[in-house]
């Protein structure tokens, strides 16, 4: 078990290093000159050359890469561990930018995840148990519609109806959980619903098909043959197996969202990592882009590892090897 975990952690580190190398190379070969961006529009070519030298851009790529990686691992002169470099826009450390905004993205992702998981699974199970009924058809038509509507559209409609006309909710404005828990929740409710409406629809459909398959398994018939109440058959014997594949996709989806939901954050003006990504792309702020990419890769690979561990806990046939 320890050995297995060790191997997996090493593998995660390996994957991250590869992603780092690939991303770094892509940015290196891009035609934009970071020194121009960093220096500003009025710089002369001598000034740019000076900046280039200062930023280490005149050194060969492998040296730059080594410096970058060792900076992350141990920090480098003047830039504390973990050093992801400095933003071209405001010269702030990328790591500080990321940590400042992480709370927003994590709040958004976790709240939405809780919502979509509950709603999606409930709809899916209800639909599966009444397969072919009017309820099933209505729910499935609803999820299809919900999954087809783009996030920014849902967001606009919700803003228009709930905020503009009904004045039911405030226009989202992020409040830290630690300072104002109620404000935190009321302000995030709209983004949560927006994001969850898309995912809940997909989860409902997944849960439904998984549940239908499970309820057709011979061991469900065995459970009924024991005289168990149908409620027990569905929850203890059915859902336990049916939700196993849901765990897998949930881990991956959540991992991806922790590093920012770009569109949702942008539409609601939430100062999260998604918003940071959005700005970095438009300003060609390469250190920030690199940092965001690595953060996303980190969350996804770790989520993957966690999913595998959880899976082995659920399914006794899966063993660490």
């Amino acid at each position: 078990m320890i050995l297995y975990l060790g191997k997996r952690v090493l593998a995660v580190a390996g994957v991250l290093l590869v992603i780092c190398a690939v991303t770094f190379t892509i940015f290196y070969v891009l035609p934009t000159d970071p020194a121009v961006h960093a220096c500003g529009k009025t710089c002369s070519s001598e000034q740019i050359a000076l900046v280039r030298q200062e930023m280490g851009l005149d050194r060969p790529i492998h040296e730059q890469f080594a410096a970058y990686v060792s900076g992350i691992a141990a920090g480098r002169d003047g830039c504390a561990f973990p050093c992801f470099g400095y933003s071209y826009q405001n010269s702030l450390p990328v790591w500080d930018l990321l940590t400042d905004r992480m709370a927003v993205s994590v709040s958004l992702a976790l709240g939405a995840a809780l919502l979509w998981l509950t709603v999606g699974v409930l709809i899916g199970v209800a639909s599966a148990l009444r397969k072919g009924s009017a309820l099933d058809r209505t729910l499935m038509a609803g999820t299809l519609a919900s999954a087809s509507v783009p996030v920014y559209f849902t967001a606009m409609i919700l803003l228009l109806v709930l905020v503009q006309y009904l004045e039911f909710l405030p226009y989202p404005d992020y409040r830290p959980l630690t300072e104002d828990p109620v404000g935190w929740a009321t302000n995030l409710l709209l983004p949560w619903v927006t994001l969850a409406s898309l995912y809940a629809a997909m989860y409902a459909r997944q849960t439904r098909s998984s549940m239908i398959e499970t309820m057709g398994q011979p061991y469900i018939r065995t459970a009924r043959a024991k005289g168990l109440h149908e409620r027990t058959v569905v929850t203890k014997h059915g859902m336990r197996s049916a939700l196993t594949p849901i765990v897998t996709i949930f881990g991956m989806d959540l991992g991806g969202l922790l590093a920012g939901a770009v569109i949702t954050e942008h539409v609601f003006g939430l100062p999260g990592i998604g918003q940071l990504t959005y700005d970095a792309i438009f300003k060609a702020d390469q250190p920030v882009m690199l940092g965001v990419t690595l953060l996303a890769a980190f969350f996804i690979t770790v989520a993957n590892l966690v999913v595998d561990l959880v899976y082995a806990g659920i399914d006794p046939r899966v063993r660490y090897a």
Binding site: Q217, P218, Y219, R221, T222, A223, R224, A225, K226, G227, L228, H229, E230, H237, R240, S241, I314, D315, P316, R317
Partner: protein, 317 residues
């Protein structure tokens, strides 16, 4: 002798069609009824109806278990009987056991429900049951998962699970079909031993006439959703009355008779549930009809009289 189970004129209809039409049989304490038929004959559908396990079907007729009518009984009453007074084991023990729970949990589950036993007592009971069905070192294996057992051992677990509440009726639906022949012999011995010790009534459902010959006191042969012949086992095998029974017996390869020669096959295929043939359902494949081409076989369904559903009783032997 009063019957433990009396099924009369059972009819099971699904959205797609009628799978069982006019099935009657009885099961007695300490005796084994063999129900034989090919795929689609309705043998499994009938037994699932007895257990009340059909969910999307209309079940008509009468199923009287120990004096109590089960057709139309409340779901809670059926649940109280299922697993406690009547139990069932299935064909594929691997897929019939839940992969995520230990065999001990799965055996104990029914006992805790029906006998209102504590967790600890149910676990002790599971160990006892595993020992009874011949699983070595039961105290250690009770915490193992189904995938850690061999096919034969899994079927023993299924049997332990079925017997945990000391049922009066055990329905075995093709219990050895998925098993190897040497393991099949073990499981059939076990079922026989259990019957002798506990006096349960057994309904053995199988496509294998050899299995029936080994275990059954009485045999019902089904074809196209209804019985065609029902008689004591010796009679069915020695003097089969229905041309289908006759044909089935002739088509079985026999290694003990020297083998080598061609087999007497029944031409054609079993009827489909959706479009059963008019008249006697066996007539398109029947040698009597082919020979005499009696019109009545093609137009009128033969009544089930004196254990036989044939317009020409006696012609087969």
């Amino acid at each position: 002798m009063t019957a433990l189970l009396q099924v009369t004129d059972l009819r099971v209809t699904f959205a797609a069609g009628t799978a069982v039409d006019g099935v009657s049989f009885t099961a007695h304490q300490g005796r084994t009824l063999g129900i034989v038929g090919e795929s689609g004959s309705g043998k499994s559908v009938s037994s699932l109806a007895v257990m009340g396990l059909h969910r999307n079907a209309i079940v008509e007729g009468s199923i009287v278990f120990d004096g109590e009518e089960l057709v139309g009984a409340s779901p809670s009453r059926l649940r109280a009987l299922r697993g406690s007074r009547m139990s069932m084991i299935f064909q594929d023990p691997l897929s019939s056991l839940h992969p995520y729970y230990t065999v001990g949990e799965q055996i104990a589950e029914g006992y805790r429900l029906h006998a209102k036993a504590s967790r600890r007592a149910a676990r002790e009971r599971a160990v006892e049951m595993l020992a009874d069905v011949g699983i070595p070192s039961p105290r250690a294996r009770v915490a193992d998962y189904p995938h850690q057992f061999s096919g034969g051992m899994r079927q023993r677990v299924m049997i332990a699970m079925a017997l945990v509440c000391e049922p009066d009726l055990l329905i075995a639906d093709e219990p050895t079909t998925a098993l190897d022949v040497t393991i099949q012999a073990q499981i059939l011995e076990l079922i026989k031993k259990i019957q002798e010790e506990r006096g349960v009534a057994v309904i053995m459902i199988t496509h294998d006439l050899g299995v029936v010959a080994r275990v059954a006191d009485e045999v019902m042969v089904m074809y196209g959703g209804a019985p065609v012949e029902h008689a004591p086992a010796r009679q069915v095998f020695k003097t089969p009355g229905h041309p289908y029974t006759r044909g089935l017996l002739d088509s079985i390869p026999r290694h003990d008779l020297g083998g080598g020669g061609p087999l007497q096959a029944i031409p054609g295929s079993p009827p489909s549930l959706l479009t059963p043939p008019q008249g006697c359902r066996f007539h398109p494949r029947c040698p009597i009809y082919a020979r005499a081409s009696a019109e009545i076989c093609a137009t009128e369904r033969p009544a089930f009289i004196a254990g036989l559903a044939c317009h020409y009783p006696g012609a087969a032997t």
